[in-house]
C-alpha cells in the first residue's frame, strides 16, 4: 500500500531475495535446458526416437491421469460425506482422513509393500482365507502405482472440495430448493458448478504430483519406466544430456499444469461467500444409517493401516518374517540397535540437521518474499511471484538434476560453487523444495492483515524495524509457522532429490530405509520409518508449541 515507503527501501530487500531465488531456482533449471541443447538437437532427437523414452512418457501420462481419476473417485465422495452428512463415527473418520498426507513418501510406499505386496499382510491374509496357492494379486506395474498414488493424493481432492463445500453459501442451495429444485438438480446445477474450480484445481495438483512422483514407480514399477525414474537411470548411465532432455520435458509438463492451476485459483474467488455454513443432514433411510458407520469404520481401518503396519513391522525380528501372514517374532532389538549403534545414528542426525538448516533458510527468505509480495509495490513483483511458486511445479527429481549439474564445480565467472559430494547440497535441495510451502503460507497470513496496519504503525512513528517486529511479523506468524512446519516435514522425509544427490556421509533417513530394505532388513527399515514418523510428529508439536508460546508471550506483555 505505501508507495512512498516503497520507493527506495523496497529494493534493498527485493534485490537479495531475487538474487537468492535466481541463483538457486532459476539458474539450475536454466542450465538443464541449456544442457539439453549442448549437442544441438541431437539429444532431443535421441529422446524422440528412443522407444524406452517414448514408453516412459506415455506411461507417465497414463499413470498421472489414472491417479487423477482414482483420487477424485475417492476424495470427492468422501468430502461430500464428511461435510454434508452426519453419522456415527464421522469425527473419527474426519480426523484420520488426511493421515496419508502425513506419511513421508518412502514410508508410505514401504507400508504398502508390507501390506499389499506379494508377501504383504493383506495379500497373505486373503490368500490364506481363500486357500489359494499363489498371491491373489501382485503389487506391480501401473495399477500398483495408481493405487499408492490414490491413497496419498486423494487428500488434495478431499481438502480442496471440503474447503469449497464449507465456503459454499448455503443460502444458494436454499434458494435453489425454494425455487423447487430437486436434490440432484441442485447438485448438478448449483453445487458442482460452484465447486468446479476447487475440483479442477485439486485435479491439477494430483496431476502435478503424480507426474513428478518417484518413490512409487521406483519401488513398485517393476520393469515399468516413467520419466522421473528414467532421469535417474540416464544419470546413472552417464547419459547426462539425455537426462537433461527428460528433465526438461517433465518440468515443462509440470509447469504447464501449475499455470493452469493458478488460472483456476484466480477463478475460484467467486465461490467465496459472505456467509457459508455447511449444514450436515442426518441420513433418512435406516439402511443408510446402519451402513454409513460400517463404511466409515472400513475407511478408518484402511487409512490407519499403513501407519499401524510400519509400527508393527518395526518390532519384527529381521529375517524371521518369510511366509507367514504376520511377522512371527517380535523384539525390541531394532530400536535397541538404533539407540546404541552410532553408525545408525548418522542418517537420523543428518536428516535433522539438514532439515533445520534448510527450514531456517526458508523462513528468512520466504518471509521477506511474502512481505514484499503482499505489502510492497515494485516493478518486478510478478517475477518474484513466479520464482517462489516455481519449485512447487518442478518435480523433485528435476530440482535435484539441476542442482547436480550447476553446483558441480567452483567457478567464479559461472557463479558456481562445488557442492555436489559435500554435505551442503542436500540442505540446498531441501531449501529449494520448501520455498513455495513457506512463502505461500506466509503470504496467506499477510493477506489477511489489514494493509493500513503497517501505515498506522509508521504513522505513529514506528521505525521500519519496530513495524516489522511488532506488526508485520505477528501478522505473518501463523503462516510462517505452518509453512515452516510443512517444509520441515517434507525435508525430514525427503527421498526424491536425496537419491540423486546424497553421499554416504550425508545420507538421510530415507536413503537408510532404502538400503535396509535392499538388505531385507524389514524390521530395521520399519524402525527407521517409525523414527521418521516420530520426527514428523515432533515437528508438528514444535510448530504448535511455537505458535502457543508466542501467543502466551503476548498475553504476558498485556499485563
Amino acid at each position: 500500500m505505501s508507495s512512498r515507503a516503497g520507493a527506495k527501501g523496497t529494493w534493498l530487500f527485493v534485490l537479495p531475495v531475487l538474487v537468492v531465488l535466481l541463483w538457486t531456482v532459476v539458474y539450475p533449471n536454466a542450465s538443464i535446458i541449456v544442457g539439453s541443447f549442448e549437442h544441438g538437437l541431437r539429444s532431443w532427437r535421441e529422446f524422440a526416437s528412443s522407444p524406452t523414452d517414448r514408453e516412459a512418457l506415455r506411461t507417465t501420462l497414463v499413470i498421472s491421469i489414472g491417479s487423477v481419476i482414482a483420487s477424485v473417485a475417492v476424495g470427492l465422495p468422501l468430502a461430500f460425506l464428511l461435510t454434508r452428512v452426519e453419522f456415527r463415527g464421522r469425527r473419527l473418520l474426519s480426523a484420520v482422513a488426511t493421515l496419508p498426507a502425513a506419511l513421508p513418501p518412502l514410508v508410505g510406499v514401504v507400508a504398502f509393500l508390507f501390506l499389499y505386496g506379494e508377501s504383504g499382510v493383506v495379500t497373505r491374509g486373503v490368500q490364506a482365507l481363500l486357500g489359494l496357492d499363489h498371491a491373489p494379486w501382485t503389487l506391480n506395474g501401473a495399477g500398483a502405482i495408481i493405487f499408492v498414488h490414490a491413497y496419498t493424493m486423494y487428500v488434495y481432492v478431499f481438502l480442496f472440495v471440503s474447503a469449497g463445500l464449507e465456503r459454499l453459501d448455503s443460502s444458494l442451495d436454499e434458494a435453489a430448493s425454494g425455487l423447487g429444485a430437486s436434490r440432484s438438480l441442485r447438485l448438478r446445477r448449483v453445487t458442482l458448478p460452484l465447486l468446479t474450480p476447487a475440483i479442477a484445481g485439486s485435479m491439477l495438483l494430483v496431476f502435478m504430483s503424480a507426474l513428478g512422483s518417484f518413490s512409487a514407480p521406483y519401488i513398485f514399477g517393476g520393469g515399468l519406466r516413467v520419466l522421473s525414474t528414467q532421469i535417474v537411470a540416464s544419470k546413472l548411465n552417464g547419459a547426462m544430456d539425455l537426462a537433461y532432455v527428460e528433465t526438461t520435458v517433465l518440468a515443462v509438463g509440470a509447469i504447464a499444469a501449475l499455470i493452469l492451476l493458478r488460472w483456476f485459483e484466480r477463478r475460484r474467488t467467486y465461490a467465496v461467500s459472505s456467509k457459508g455454513s455447511a449444514v450436515r443432514s442426518r441420513l433418512q433411510s435406516s439402511t443408510a444409517r446402519a451402513l454409513a458407520p460400517m463404511l466409515g469404520a472400513v475407511l478408518v481401518v484402511i487409512l490407519v493401516l499403513p501407519h499401524a503396519m510400519v509400527i508393527l513391522v518395526s518390532f519384527a525380528r529381521d529375517g524371521a518374517w518369510t511366509t507367514q501372514v504376520l511377522p512371527p517374532e517380535y523384539t525390541l532389538d531394532n530400536f535397541r540397535r538404533l539407540a546404541t549403534d552410532t553408525d545408525l545414528w548418522v542418517p537420523i542426525w543428518n536428516s535433522v540437521s539438514m532439515t533445520a538448516i534448510a527450514t531456517a533458510l526458508d523462513i528468512v527468505v520466504c518471509f521477506l518474499a511474502a512481505y514484499l509480495l503482499v505489502l510492497r509495490r515494485f516493478r518486478v513483483r510478478w517475477l518474484l511471484a513466479i520464482l517462489v511458486a516455481l519449485p512447487w511445479a518442478i518435480p523433485g527429481t528435476a530440482i535435484a538434476i539441476g542442482l547436480a549439474s550447476t553446483f558441480d564445480r567452483n567457478s567464479l565467472l559461472g557463479a558456481r560453487v562445488l557442492l555436489v559430494g559435500t554435505f551442503w547440497i542436500l540442505p540446498l535441495a531441501y531449501f529449494v523444495r520448501g520455498i513455495p510451502l513457506v512463502s505461500s503460507a506466509t503470504e496467506g497470513s499477510l493477506r489477511q492483515m489489514d494493509p493500513s496496519l503497517e501505515d498506522a504503525a509508521r504513522g505513529l512513528g514506528a521505525s521500519w524495524w519496530l513495524t516489522m517486529r511488532r506488526v508485520v511479523l505477528p501478522a505473518a506468524r501463523p503462516g510462517l509457522v505452518a509453512g515452516a512446519m510443512l517444509a520441515g516435514i517434507t525435508a525430514v522425509g525427503e527421498f526424491v532429490a536425496s537419491i540423486v544427490l546424497f553421499t554416504h556421509a550425508n545420507r538421510p533417513i530415507s536413503m537408510e530405509i532404502l538400503s535396509q530394505l535392499r538388505n531385507f532388513a524389514f524390521g530395521t527399515a520399519a524402525a527407521f520409518s517409525v523414527v521418521l514418523i516420530a520426527l514428523v510428529l515432533a515437528i508438528t508439536l514444535i510448530a504448535r508449541w511455537a505458535e502457543g508460546r508466542w501467543t502466551r508471550a503476548e498475553a504476558v506483555v498485556i499485563q
Binding site: 500500500m1 505505501s2 508507495s3 512512498r4 515507503a5 520507493a7 489489514d450 493500513s452 496496519l453 501505515d455 498506522a456 504503525a457 509508521r458 504513522g459 505513529l460 512513528g461 514506528a462 521505525s463 519496530l466 511488532r470 506488526v471 505477528p474 501478522a475 503476548e554 506483555v557 498485556i558 499485563q559
Partner: protein
C-alpha cells in the same frame, strides 16, 4: 487565513495515477492551529488521496505539504509525527487496547510504566477508562473508533488526520460519536483535517469545510458559507438540497420567471459571475415558504409530493412545466394535488454562473 503563518498548508498538491486525469489537481488549503477542517466530496473526488499525501503515505507528483512554514513533503510518515485515524481504524488485532494506544509511545522509546500510564490517561480521555487490558475483538464499533482516536492523540501530534472516522458506525451511534469527537478535539485544541463523504458529519464537526470534486478544490469555508454562498453550481448541488433555476441578473437583483409569474429577488452573486445577463439562482427549501393565495411576490403551483421529515414537512411543488420547487415547511395541512403559492422568504438568494 489572515495574519499568522498557517499551521498546516497544502500548496498545489497534485497526484496523478494515470496520464489522463489527476486524482488530486493542485489542491491548496491552509489550516490554522487548533482548527478543524473537513474535506468532503463524493467517492473518487480525491479526498483520501489528499489525506494520504498529507500523512506521507502517498508521494505527490507536484506541490508541497508545509507545517509551520517548514516543507515536509519529503518526510516519511513516521517522521511527520501526525496522528491518523484510519477508516477501518487499523487497530492491531494481536495487541490489547492499551498496547494499541501505547504503540506510538513505544516507537518513541517511552518507558513501559510511563507509556502504560499515558495510554490509560488517553483512554480515559475518550471515555474508555479501564479498557486497557481488553482485547481489540471485544470492542464495539464505536469503542474501536475511540481507541483509534486515543492511539492517534496520545503521541500529541501537531496535526490529527481522520479518514472517514464515522463511516463504519450505525446512524444513531454516528450522531452521538461525532458530537463526542468534536467535544474531544475542541477540548484538546487539536488541529485536525478529516475526510468524509457525509456533509452532515462535516457540518457537525468542522470549523470549515473544503469541498473536492474530481480532484479539484471547489470551495473552502464555514458550512454556512458553502450553504448560503456557494461558489458555483457544483457546490450548490452538492451541499444541501436546492432547486437551481435560471434568471436574469442585473446588478444585485435577479429576475426569475416561473410559469407565468416573474419575480425580482435580491441576489448574493458568487465571484466571477458577470453582473448582467443569464445566471442561476439557488433556491434552498428552507428559504421558501407558502404564501397566501394570489400573493403578489409568489409563484403558483401544484403540490406533487408531501414527505414527513420530523420537525418539518418536505413538499415538492410544480410551478412550471419542468420546474419543481422543494420547500420545507412546518405547515401540515397541504396535500398532494392542492394548488398553492410559494414565495422566497429569505433573501438574498445565492446566484451562481
Amino acid at each position: 487565513m489572515s495574519g499568522a503563518t498557517p499551521h498546516l498548508a497544502l500548496d498545489r498538491l497534485t497526484r496523478r495515477f494515470s496520464e489522463a486525469r489527476a486524482a488530486v489537481d493542485a489542491v491548496s488549503l491552509e489550516i490554522a492551529a487548533g482548527e478543524l477542517v473537513a474535506l468532503i466530496g463524493a467517492s473518487g473526488s480525491g479526498k483520501t488521496t489528499t489525506l494520504r499525501m498529507v500523512a506521507g503515505y502517498e508521494a505527490p507528483d507536484a506541490g508541497a505539504v508545509v507545517l509551520d512554514g517548514r516543507d515536509i513533503t519529503s518526510l516519511p510518515p513516521q517522521r511527520r509525527q501526525f496522528g491518523m485515524v484510519f477508516q477501518h481504524y487499523a487497530l492491531f488485532p494481536h495487541l490489547t487496547v492499551g498496547q494499541n494506544v501505547a504503540f506510538g509511545l513505544e516507537a518513541r522509546g517511552v518507558t513501559r510504566t510511563e507509556r502504560m500510564s499515558r495510554a490509560a490517561e488517553a483512554l480515559a480521555g475518550v471515555g474508555l477508562a479501564g479498557a486497557a487490558g481488553r482485547p481489540i475483538q471485544s470492542l464495539s464499533g464505536g469503542e474501536q473508533q475511540r481507541v483509534a482516536l486515543a492511539r492517534a492523540l496520545v503521541i500529541e501530534p501537531p496535526v490529527l488526520l481522520l479518514d472517514e472516522p464515522l463511516s463504519n458506525l450505525d446512524p444513531t451511534l454516528r450522531r452521538s460519536t461525532r458530537e463526542e469527537l468534536r467535544a474531544t478535539l475542541r477540548r484538546l485544541g487539536v488541529t485536525a483535517l478529516f475526510v468524509t463523504h457525509d456533509q452532515e458529519d462535516a457540518f457537525a464537526v468542522a470549523d470549515r469545510v473544503a469541498l473536492l470534486a474530481e480532484g479539484r478544490l471547489l470551495q473552502v469555508g464555514t458550512a454556512e458559507l458553502l450553504y448560503d454562498r456557494p461558489a458555483n453550481r457544483e457546490v450548490a448541488a452538492f451541499i444541501g438540497r436546492s432547486t437551481l433555476v435560471a434568471g436574469t441578473l442585473d446588478g444585485d437583483r435577479i429576475t426569475v420567471q416561473l410559469g407565468g409569474a416573474s419575480r425580482s429577488l435580491r441576489a448574493a452573486v458568487a465571484p466571477g459571475v458577470p453582473s448582467r445577463g443569464v445566471a442561476t439562482a439557488v433556491l434552498r427549501p428552507d428559504a421558501l415558504a407558502f404564501s397566501p393565495p394570489d400573493g403578489r411576490d409568489a409563484w403558483t403551483g401544484v403540490v406533487q409530493e408531501r414527505r414527513f421529515a420530523g420537525a418539518l414537512l418536505a413538499y415538492r411543488v410544480r410551478v412550471a412545466g419542468d420546474v419543481d420547487l422543494e420547500l420545507h415547511s412546518t405547515v401540515r395541512d397541504v396535500q398532494p394535488g392542492d394548488t398553492v403559492w410559494v414565495r422566497v422568504a429569505r433573501e438574498p438568494v445565492a446566484v451562481v454562473a
